[in-house]
C-alpha cells in the first residue's frame, strides 16, 4: 500500500505529464528502446547536475531575473563537459551518441526541472536539489515508457492518416494526464 501511494505521488509530480515539459523530446525518445535509453540517461544526467548547480545559484541569487542566465551558463558547462567526457570514453562512437547530448542540453525538460526545483526546494538543502533532479529524470523515463507502450499502435495504419503519430500521441498523453489529475 505504501509503495502504491509513493508511486501515485511520483506520477502526480511528473513534470512531463503534469506540466508538459519536454514533450517533443519524449516523442523522439519513445520511438525505440535505444533512443529511450540514450535520451533518458542524458536527460537524467543534465537534470541532476543542473539541479546541483541550481542549489548554489539559488543560494547566492535568490529570486532574481539573472538566475535564468546563470542556469543557462550552468547547463552550458554540463553540455561541454558531457561532450568532452563522451569523446574521451566512447572513441569512435562519439558521432553516434553525441546527438543525445545536443537534443537534451537546453531542453524544456532540463530547464523546466531547474526552475521547478528552484521554486520548491529553496532552503531545502543540496541533497534535496540532487534528489529532485534524479526524480525529474526518472519521471522522464516513466513518461517515455508509458508513451513507448502505445507508440506503435498510435503510429500504425489503423489510425487515420491525419491523426497518425503526434496528434494521436498528444490525445493519449492528455488521457494519461487526466487520469493523474483525478488521482491528485
Amino acid at each position: 500500500m505504501f509503495l502504491i501511494t509513493e508511486l501515485i505521488a511520483f506520477l502526480c509530480g511528473n513534470l512531463i505529464l503534469n506540466q508538459a515539459l519536454g514533450i517533443s523530446t519524449m516523442f523522439t525518445a519513445a520511438k525505440d528502446r535505444k533512443n529511450l535509453i540514450g535520451t533518458a540517461a542524458v536527460i537524467t544526467i543534465f537534470t541532476t547536475f543542473a539541479s546541483a548547480f541550481a542549489c548554489f545559484i539559488d543560494l547566492i541569487f535568490p529570486q532574481t531575473d539573472i538566475r535564468l542566465l546563470l542556469y543557462v551558463v550552468a547547463v552550458g558547462i554540463i553540455y561541454i563537459g558531457l561532450l568532452f567526457g563522451l569523446k574521451k570514453f566512447s572513441g569512435k562512437n562519439f558521432v553516434k551518441y553525441r546527438k543525445y547530448i545536443h537534443i537534451s542540453a537546453f531542453n524544456c525538460a532540463v530547464m523546466g526541472t531547474v526552475f521547478t526545483i528552484g521554486g520548491t526546494a529553496e532552503n531545502a538543502g543540496f541533497f534535496r536539489y540532487i534528489s529532485a533532479g534524479i526524480e525529474a529524470g526518472a519521471g522522464f523515463v516513466l513518461a517515455s515508457l508509458i508513451l513507448t507502450a502505445a507508440y506503435k499502435r498510435l503510429d500504425s495504419e489503423k489510425v487515420p492518416p491525419s491523426f497518425r503519430g503526434f496528434p494521436a500521441m498528444l490525445v493519449y498523453l492528455g488521457i494519461i494526464s487526466m487520469a493523474l489529475y483525478a488521482l491528485k
Partner: protein, 206 residues
C-alpha cells in the same frame, strides 16, 4: 516541406511552429487557457525570440556549434530581463500565473535549434522576414487555442462571462493536450492529411 520551394511566409501556416513542428508547446498546453495569459505569452515570446535571434545572428559562425548554441541561449536570457520587467507593467496579474513558463520562453526551440539549422543560413533581410512569420504563426495558434479554451473551459472571454455550458477540464493541462492533438490532426487534414503520414520528420527537440 524541404522539397517544396522555400517562402518567408512558411512559418505562418505551412511550417507552423506549434501545429507542424510541435515546438514551444508547453506554454500553449499549460498557460494557453485564457486570452490574458495568451497575450502575455505572445508578447514575451515575440519580443524575446525576435531580438535574441537578430542579436545572435552577429555571433561569429566560425565558433563550434555547441559554443554558438550556449551563446544564443545566453543572449536570450539577457533579452528576457527587460522583457520581463516590461511585462510586469503590462500584465501585472498574469506574470505570476504563468510561473516557470515565462522564463522558459527564452530557451525556446526557435532560438536554440532553428537559428542554427534554418535562420542563420539565410541572408539577414530574408531571415528577419521568415522569423517574423514564424513568430506570427505561433502567436496566431496560441491566440486561437486560448480563446477556445477560455470560452469552453471557463465560460468567459477576456474575463467577461459568456452564457455558455462549459467543460472545466478544457482549461486544465490535460484539456490542452487533447485540444492540441485534435487541432494538429485537423491541421494535417486541412493540409491534405493523406500526404503526411506519421509526420515524425518535423519533430523538434525542445
Amino acid at each position: 516541406m524541404n522539397k517544396d520551394k522555400f517562402s518567408v511566409f512558411d512559418g505562418l501556416w505551412k511550417d507552423n511552429t506549434i501545429l507542424s513542428a510541435l515546438m514551444v508547446i508547453s506554454p500553449v498546453i499549460v498557460c494557453g487557457n485564457t486570452l490574458r495569459n495568451a497575450l502575455a505569452i505572445i508578447y514575451a515570446f515575440s519580443a524575446i525570440t525576435l531580438f535574441s535571434v537578430v542579436i545572435a545572428s552577429f555571433v561569429p559562425k566560425n565558433l563550434p556549434y555547441t559554443i554558438r548554441t550556449i551563446i544564443n541561449a545566453a543572449i536570450a536570457s539577457l533579452v528576457y530581463i527587460p522583457v520581463k520587467h516590461m511585462a510586469v507593467g503590462f500584465f501585472p496579474d498574469v506574470i505570476p500565473r504563468t510561473g516557470i513558463y515565462f522564463p522558459l520562453l527564452a530557451v525556446n526551440s526557435i532560438i536554440i535549434l532553428h537559428t542554427e539549422s534554418k535562420f542563420f543560413k539565410m541572408k539577414k533581410p530574408e531571415m528577419i522576414g521568415s522569423l517574423v512569420f514564424y513568430i506570427l504563426g505561433f502567436d496566431l495558434i496560441m491566440l486561437i487555442i486560448s480563446v477556445i479554451r477560455e470560452i469552453f473551459g471557463h465560460g468567459t472571454l477576456n474575463e467577461n462571462v459568456i452564457n455558455i455550458n462549459f467543460i472545466s477540464g478544457l482549461s486544465e493541462p490535460f484539456g490542452g493536450f487533447v485540444l492540441l492533438g485534435l487541432l494538429c490532426g485537423l491541421y494535417r487534414k486541412m493540409r491534405s492529411g493523406n500526404r503526411i503520414s506519421g509526420g515524425d520528420k518535423n519533430v523538434s527537440d525542445n
